[in-house]
Symmetry: C2
């Protein structure tokens, strides 16, 4: 019964159409009138069922999407699939489950390479400055802090690069960002 | 007209119910019969409209979800909102747009920390071995390749740690993974 709504609508259409032609279906006028009354009653009942069921399930789906938009991909699998909206809920739940899984994988990858970078930069004796142009930060590893004798780990990048003594360093950073140059002997001064 | 389906269903219910009682609404029998015929005709037409519109839009939404599940979050914004399913398409498109945006942000973060790790490990003169327990790989940076005089950059981790000469190295790795210990003097042999 996956297409309950469609099937109900088809039956109701046929009933409504047949009650247009009682004279063709019944020779007896009373039988015709009874048939029309019964079929109209069934049509009304069917319509009320559709109205209630459709509104109820649709608002549930809307709630599910709204929750997902706020970041929590709830996966409420319907117990039984009766109609098209149950099917839709099922598909959405499957989709959200996949998104959740994919998201965890991504988060793990971020954590992994973040951890790799952190542990390497914490432990080596060479100075490392991590320059993030977007975030406007220059982050020093312990070795760099030791070499420049600095207590602060993080500097606003613009303050560093705009300093008069750092013209060469700034040019080097621009080359790194532009052409991917990775090696140069430049001095840097932390204000 | 955001609730076109609901409103249509309500009107059809009222029409179907009123054609149950033509004798109460009309004193004249012919008028009553004409009313019943007209209202049944409208009900049939309304039902056919619902059937076609509902099936068409629902299959469009299902296609949208299916595409999303295969990884492409299409965002087809409906031009005009007439009914509940248009509204649903709109909400889904908004959601998929947000997911896309969030996904790009995540991908950027992965790329960022991956690049930071790569550029630091490529350029330092200290040897770095990146051990990935899940992927079973030990990746060497150029300095490590030079020190151990190896042409290969990547080794299966298990082959390295299970080697008889690497008992100490394996213990060290276990301590790193277990307690987060980060420093030790251990030798390692690459088979």
């Amino acid at each position: 019964m996956k297409n309950l709504y469609r099937n109900t609508l088809i039956v109701l259409v046929l009933l409504a159409l047949s009650s247009l032609i009682p004279d063709i279906l019944f020779t007896d006028r009373t039988s015709g009138r009874i048939f029309v009354a019964v079929s109209d009653g069934i049509v009304a009942a069917g319509l009320i069922f559709l109205l209630i069921s459709f509104s109820k399930k649709l608002s549930k789906i809307n709630r599910q999407i709204q929750l997902a938009d706020s970041g929590s991909f709830t996966t409420e699998f319907p117990e039984k699939i009766h109609d098209e909206l149950d099917m839709l809920t099922l598909k959405l739940s499957k989709l959200f489950k996949d998104i959740n899984k994919y998201d965890r994988l991504r988060a793990k990858n971020v954590a992994k390479s973040g951890k790799a970078f952190a542990s390497i930069s914490m432990n080596i004796s060479e100075a490392v400055i991590l320059a993030d142009f977007e975030e406007n930060t220059a982050i020093l590893n312990p070795a760099a802090q030791k070499i420049w004798n600095l207590e602060t780990r993080s500097f606003p990048l613009d303050i560093v690069v705009k300093h008069a003594q750092n013209i060469e360093f700034n040019k080097f950073l621009e080359r790194v960002a532009g052409s991917g140059e990775e090696k140069a002997e430049v001095s840097v001064y932390f204000p």
